[in-house]
């Protein structure tokens, strides 16, 4: 079995968000970067579990500049076998998906994992686009994946419940919480990752369909109105009469 896991570099979940250049650029000053949690905790770890249980080769891919190499090395330290970095800073989901599809066409994967979404641009788009570009089925927001021969069984969330679906390999899926438990790379993995292949490729020609014009921060809250614990009825009254939400 041959598996590809798409890895994105995102700011740490505790990062304070600020912008520069007249609110057109994310300020990276003082920001620590991590593997997008959905890509790491769920997609990559489930791919590694499948490798351990059934035998598989796990490739990683990221589309980013040289500064993404630290996160891709970490993903290798967790257990990926080899990695591709497509050398482009593009933020456009279609451009990124086109790069991944280009590599996937050459490598012919059985399963392509993405995270549910990245925690920076929240596009939740790349997986579906890759599937379309490759003509493969796409199962989104999957919380469980089992593979039996050529068939994958997945659990995915729907409004107000869950459904179990079956699909023949190859497929593309987006992974979310529930699929696996986070792991920490061990020293042996970290050492091994240094010498694992990381191929840098230049991007293929592809279109860009969107561009970010500017960023904004949410308006500050007006301030909290505190209600004494022995006047709970007053809270209900305020929610009804002032906030008009009940």
């Amino acid at each position: 079995m041959k598996i590809l896991v798409c890895i994105s570099k995102t700011p740490d979940t505790t990062a304070k968000i600020a912008f520069t250049d007249n609110n057109t650029k994310f300020s990276e000053a003082g920001v620590q970067f991590i593997i997008n949690p959905y890509d790491e905790w769920y997609a990559l770890v489930r791919a590694l579990e499948l490798k351990e249980a059934q035998g598989a080769t796990v490739h990683l891919i990221t589309v980013g500049g040289a500064d993404t190499e630290a996160v891709i090395r970490k993903a290798l330290a967790l257990g990926g076998d080899e990695a591709f970095r497509v050398n482009s800073d593009s933020q456009d989901s279609f451009f990124i998906a086109s790069q991944i599809a280009e590599i996937a066409k050459q490598e012919q994967y059985d399963i392509i994992f993405t995270g549910k979404e990245t925690i920076d641009y929240n596009g939740s788009s790349v997986g579906g686009m890759v599937a379309e570009l490759l003509g493969l089925p796409f199962v989104s927001i999957a919380s469980k994946l089992d593979v039996n021969g050529g068939t994958a069984t997945l659990k995915r969330e729907i409004e107000g419940g869950e459904e179990v679906v079956e699909v023949s390999l190859p497929l593309v899926l987006s992974a979310q919480k529930g699929m696996a438990e986070a792991r920490i790379p061990n020293m042996r993995g970290i050492m091994a990752a240094r010498t694992k292949p990381l191929k840098v490729v230049e991007p293929a020609a592809a279109e860009t369909l969107t561009s970010i014009v500017s960023f904004e921060l949410p308006p500050a809250k007006a301030g909290v109105k505190m209600i004494p614990a022995d006047q709970v009825e007053e809270l209900a009254r305020l929610l009804h009469e002032e906030a008009k939400v009940i």
Partner: protein
């Protein structure tokens, strides 16, 4: 030209998030002076479909194929693409719900139409086509320009309040020529929790954290949720400890919710949790620790013991909810 809206259903009812998408799409159609055409799939009552006119749809294309009661993403992508071709769709709108997240990106790649996921504002067409969306999981917004001729937008649920009027849409049977090869994903089983409000569509969410000390204390959260007709949610440590199911986890690595009212009980308000809820219109925080960071993000706060405060609140809200 037209605006095409995918109006997805669940068990024969058009989802609330889809009604919001129809209304959003109809507003764009009105700006452009073109018809708003909804696309519905699966077995749905004709009256349910013509009622989409109340939200501004002029026409509904209906593919009444029982195989689509669970909207297979590949098949629906094909249907919407054909509807776009038939009606000369210029803007295509989805709800940013489970179906939309699956279908819209596939359609975007098929039509090479730029896609903005999770819009929280109507497009600004004064210079191009710019849509505002959440980024950094609700910690900021981005204004994103779609630079292609056809444009796809998915609408963040619970962002636009529904405002039904008196219209009625014509319903037209639509055949998309689907073959077995279009159904690559087979639904084996659907498990729904009946009687509960889906978290991502809920107007009120009652959420519990570690301050509740254990899963056996969730009764007070559920009682308050029941009195309010609310969905229940939880913080990450609660889901990670297995006190509550993963699909209730709200926050940066769980679900983002935007209810009218979010009540946080025993949740300290870590930055990751706030990211998932700060689009809520009104936030109430109940915590025994007056220093909990959540109070800074709240509209109303009570410093007190949840086990005393919450049951009293449940009794107090019953007066206003009339039950």
């Amino acid at each position: 030209m037209s605006v095409i809206i995918f109006a997805d259903q669940f068990q024969g009812k058009v989802k609330k998030s889809a009604l919001e998408a129809v209304q959003y799409g109809a507003q764009i159609a009105q700006q452009l002076g073109v018809p708003a055409v909804a696309v519905a799939v699966g077995e749905i009552d004709g009256a349910e479909l013509s009622a989409l006119g109340q939200y501004g749809a002029t026409k509904v294309l209906h593919v009444a194929d029982a195989r689509l009661n669970e909207p297979e993403a590949g098949a629906v992508t094909k249907i919407v693409a054909e509807a776009v071709a038939k009606e000369n769709g210029a803007v295509i709108v989805f709800a940013h719900n489970f179906a939309g997240r699956s279908i819209a990106p596939q359609l975007s790649a098929r039509l090479k139409a730029g896609f903005v996921a999770g819009a929280i504002g109507l497009p600004d067409t004064s210079a191009g086509f710019v849509v505002k969306k959440n980024v950094f999981s609700g910690k900021a917004f981005a204004n994103v320009s779609i630079t292609t001729g056809k444009k796809i937008v998915s609408v963040m649920p619970n962002t636009f309040s529904l405002n039904p009027g008196g219209g009625s849409a014509s319903v037209e049977a639509f055949a998309a020529g689907l073959g077995d090869a279009d159904f690559k994903i087979k639904t084996v089983k659907v498990e729904t929790v009946s009687g509960e409000v889906p978290l991502t569509e809920a107007e009120i969410v009652v959420s519990g954290g570690r301050g509740l000390k254990g899963p056996e204390h969730w009764g007070i959260v559920e009682d308050l949720a029941h009195a309010l007709g609310a969905a229940t949610a939880c913080s990450r440590p609660v889901a990670d400890s297995g006190w509550r199911p993963h699909h209730e986890h709200v926050g940066q690595t769980g679900f983002t919710v935007r209810p009218n009212l979010y009540i946080a009980i025993g949740i300290s308000g870590a930055i990751q949790h706030l990211a998932g809820v700060n689009g809520s219109k009104t936030i109430v925080v109940i915590n025994k620790d007056a220093e909990a960071p959540f109070f800074k993000a709240a509209d109303y706060g009570i410093v007190g013991d949840a086990f005393e405060v919450v049951p009293k609140l449940t009794e107090a809200v019953k007066k206003y909810k009339g039950n």
